[in-house]
Structure formats: C-alpha cells, structure tokens
Subunit: 183 residues, 2 copies
Amino acid sequence: MTDVNFSRGAANPDSQGAEGVPAPRSGELRWDIIELLFFAYRDFVGDADHELEAFGFGRAHHRVMHFVYRYPGLKVADLLDVLRITKQSLGRVLKQLLDEGYIVQKTGNNDRRQRLLYATPKGEALVAKLAGLQTDRITRALRDINPEGVAAISQFLRAMIDRDDPDKVLEAIFGTGSKKPRE
Amino acid sequence: MTDVNFSRGAANPDSQGAEGVPAPRSGELRWDIIELLFFAYRDFVGDADHELEAFGFGRAHHRVMHFVYRYPGLKVADLLDVLRITKQSLGRVLKQLLDEGYIVQKTGNNDRRQRLLYATPKGEALVAKLAGLQTDRITRALRDINPEGVAAISQFLRAMIDRDDPDKVLEAIFGTGSKKPRE
DNA sequence: AAGATATGTCAACATGACTGACGTAAATTT
DNA sequence: AAATTTACGTCAGTCATGTTGACATATCTT
C-alpha cells in the first residue's frame, strides 16, 4: 500500500543529505551517551513505576513525595519550581496525597499564607521503599567502579544540570543555599 | 484551613518512622545519585523539547525519529520493543511522521509483511539538530573529565540498563547483536 | 487449506501536562 | 486605612501520550 516511492538506493535506501541542511557534524555527536542516558533513565524510573502501580499512584506522585520527604517544610511554590509544572497540575496530585495521608500541610510561621509540606510516616515508608529499589540499581551499577570513577560520574551528572535560575532544591544540591536535605 | 493535626514536633514536625514499616536504610540510600539523575535527565531532554515545539512535535516523535535514523531499516515491531509502548500509541505518532515526510516505509525483502523504517533527509536534519543540542550539553559536562572518568561514566550508564530480554537496539549497543547503528 | 505473524485501525479511556479565569486570605505598599 | 501584591486553591476545558480490546488485511509458515 504505502510502499516507498522515495528510495534512491535499492534494498537499503541510503540518504546522502539534502542541500540547505546543516552539516550533521557526524563525527562529533555523542550518540553513545545520548542513547545510554535514554535506556538508563528508562530502566531507572521503571523500578519505581512498577511499585507505584500497587498504590494506584503514578510518577507524578512519586516526584512530589520524594521532594517533600527530602526537603521537609518545602513550600508549594518551591515544589512548583522544582517540578516545573503548573499549580493546577500539582494541585490534583497533591490533593490525593493529602487526602490519603501521605503528606500533611502546616501553615507557615512567618508567613501564614504559606503551606509547608511534610511527609507522614506513611509517606516516608513509600519514599524509602522506592528509593531502596533505585538505590539497589545504582549500587549494582557502581559496584566495580573505583572512587575516582564515582567522582567522575557525580561530576558529570552535576555538569549536565542547568545552573542558571536554580530552585531551592538545586541550591541545596550544589551547596549554594541554606536549605539542607534530610539524611 | 487544612491546618496540621498530625505534627508531633513543633515548627518542624520530625517523623520518627512508623511501626511495621521496613527499616529506611537511611545511610545506604543514594539520594545524591537519584536526584542528580532526575535533574540531569530533565535538563537533557529539555534541550530537545524546546526545539521540538517549533515543529509541533513532542518527545514521542523525537524518540521515534531518533531510533529510526540511528538504526535504518528498523521494523515496526523492533521499535515497539525499544520504546516499550503499544502499537496503537506508536501508530499515531508514526503516521504523523510519515505524512509529514520525516520517515518512509519500505516493504521488507524477505518478508513482505514487514515495514522497514527509514529517515528522509528532512528527518535526518531534525534528528541531527536535536542530537547536536544534546551533544553540546554532554560535551560541556565531559570537558573537565579525564578518559578514565569518561570510561567510568559509560560503564555506569551501561550497568544501569536491564540486560534481561534486550531488544535489537540494546543488542547493538552492547555489541551482542548483528545490527549496527549509523555513524 | 489452516493457522500464525506483522501491521494497521477503530473506539474508549486514563494520566498528567497545559491555559485561562476567578476567589480568598494574608502580607506588603502606599 | 486602603490598595495592591502574593500564595494558594479551584473550576473548566484542552492536548499529548499512554493504555485495553476488538477486528481487518496481507503474507508467511505448516
């Protein structure tokens, strides 16, 4: 049906690049790292995804739980910065987590408009379980790598992150802010 | 309104873990790598996301284009394995890319039921542009890392990937298959 | 000829994003 | 004190991308 009427080669139509197209810079492109990142991240989040199904939650719930647990007293606005989603989108997920008792809100002391977020023990248990699964994978992957190698991995991942306009969590990770994560 | 009636502490309610909950294994959890992966991947795909908007495409289109370009002659079934989505979901995206001339199909030589997928020059240009953006970020991140460090990063990412039931693309990446990527 | 396989498609639905508009309480500015 | 801004919540509608289930068609295998 929709058979090819494009092929310039025979069995294996090889394209030779169109005019006006920017040079592919073939030799320089890091296809290797690009694809490794895709597959590594896919399987990394897959660990948690599978477990979350049992709770009727999705990735969105995990992300919220994770950062609320790690940075207790996070404001709603901070969370929006970190997750880079709209408040309407966060609202739905957050409401479920509040209703089901995974997170609690506490009115801010200085500014009573703020709703500071904290994980309940129930929430902590879930986050720890998911982090455990992901840690298992990471530990396995780091097993045969020496300390210099681990340092290089950490440095690489940090350097992959945008440093302009960092949110509170990133400030904590890069040690430029006042907020400190748990543990 | 929904003020806290849970807090056991004062200003900063610190939870001490519920009974019956598995031990948090706090000291061992790799919160650092977990969060670095989250932010690194977020910004990594963000590069492409931004550019894709100008084409009216999303991440799904990028993933399809990428693997079709890199592994020319990929079958539809292979693509489903790699992306781990259903054929209905792939169908919508693939149809758009075919209609708009980013990809072409060619009937298989041995098996005429198969539709082998190839990127057109238009498709190649898009993939190269996106890979260029991501390569820029990777190159920047690798700049101050020595060859041993780069090897450790590559080893780490490979070890993060599930090796049971590898698809054709993973076989190529791990050098256990016959198919070879471009470039 | 019968059955299995590769692909495509229709229909319905879920999740998690989005925009835009509006409301309320509390803080800040004038 | 009044006006404005801020932090948050919510209603309503839309879009992108995933899902399941059913079914059709062409082609290969037995």
